[in-house]
Symmetry: D2
């Protein structure tokens, strides 16, 4: 896209792809840690939420990498799911790995939400 | 879920999972056909839309199979994407394979939309 | 494929796709059960193995549905991974859900291995 | 892993994950380009091979990020599939985007093959 707004959108999208990948990586790598910790870390609902987050981040990044306009729908879903996963991780934020995971979830949710907004303005 | 409404929801969800899988299968198997046909069948936007549909149907089915409440968000995205893919396939509905693909997209969109509605009422 | 061998191969492949999907579904739906059971059911290595099995079954089915000759490589990986997941599930086979999961893993491993063999003869 | 060999393996695995992600990204972003170019770029077999490569790179990276020992099987499949995709892209290497895609495929194939070797020595 040749104009300033297009370039802005494009650079935002690159950032959003990276945030999705970072969040995907953080959650996927943290699941084994949670299972080893046991207790609330390994609660069925928490692990499932982490798995949900991993999958929607991957799907959302793939839509953007494929250059699909329909990323607005996957980004909308991703923002909601990352927010919930971030909430859950934050409850265990005395564990630095969970705190770091929560940060990635927040960052991804924020930029996915922003992508949805940009699309609405088109 | 023990009550009648729960059972209904559950049976609707089983149907929705099947519809997602059928739509995933139809679109994935039809992509090589489209590429061999060439012309509008192989237009970049059409193939991308089919790939989008394949991926969100898979993600949406996985969320439901994992028993995640957050399927409402992936089902919402899936309904929108399947509708667009169905529109695109319908434009080539003189080709029986595209007509069949369009039918699967419509069916999946409808049941995903229904899943979203059920969730809203909870 | 017009000849008898082709038809045979094709029908074997349809069966293998179904076995991959059934194993994917069995493992994905059983993960939350394992997490709720706790103990050895929820051991990090077991849950990770179930996640591995879910993902390779999905990938392997997708390769076959896409009509890719390279399914021989994903089927080879799938056979090995399903065998290991089946071994692990069998250790908890006094739990009927794990016994059923083990059966699906065995069936999938066997038909994936067969797909690899067919390909070798081509 | 505390010893020098463990650290080496670990750093090789980090590199392999990155190579899988780079190859996944290169192929996924190049599919729409191929479809727009038409001709041999958009041949059914070429697009399918690119889709195969995208999916196995993703699966292989996920296995490593999940910390699974079974990555040896997905890496083995990934090496074979990336090699074939690299061959196919190289035939169109007068197009810089295909040349770049071929490079990513080669790099991914090489490090996946190396991961398989490391595992054999364990």
């Amino acid at each position: 896209m040749p104009d300033a707004r297009g370039h802005l959108l494009n650079s935002h999208m690159q950032q959003c792809i990276e945030n999705c990948q970072d969040c995907h990586k953080a959650c996927l790598e943290t699941i084994p840690h949670c299972l080893q910790m046991g207790g609330k870390h390994a609660a069925a609902n928490h692990i499932r939420l982490m798995m949900d987050c991993v999958e929607i981040c991957q799907t959302s990044a793939n839509f953007m990498q494929r250059g699909s306009d329909l990323h607005v729908f996957t980004c909308a879903a991703c923002a909601e799911i990352c927010d919930r996963c971030g909430d859950d991780c934050e409850k265990m934020a005395d564990d630095p790995r969970m705190a770091s995971c929560a940060t990635m979830c927040r960052r991804c949710a924020e930029s996915c939400r922003e992508m949805t907004g940009h699309a609405v303005h088109r």
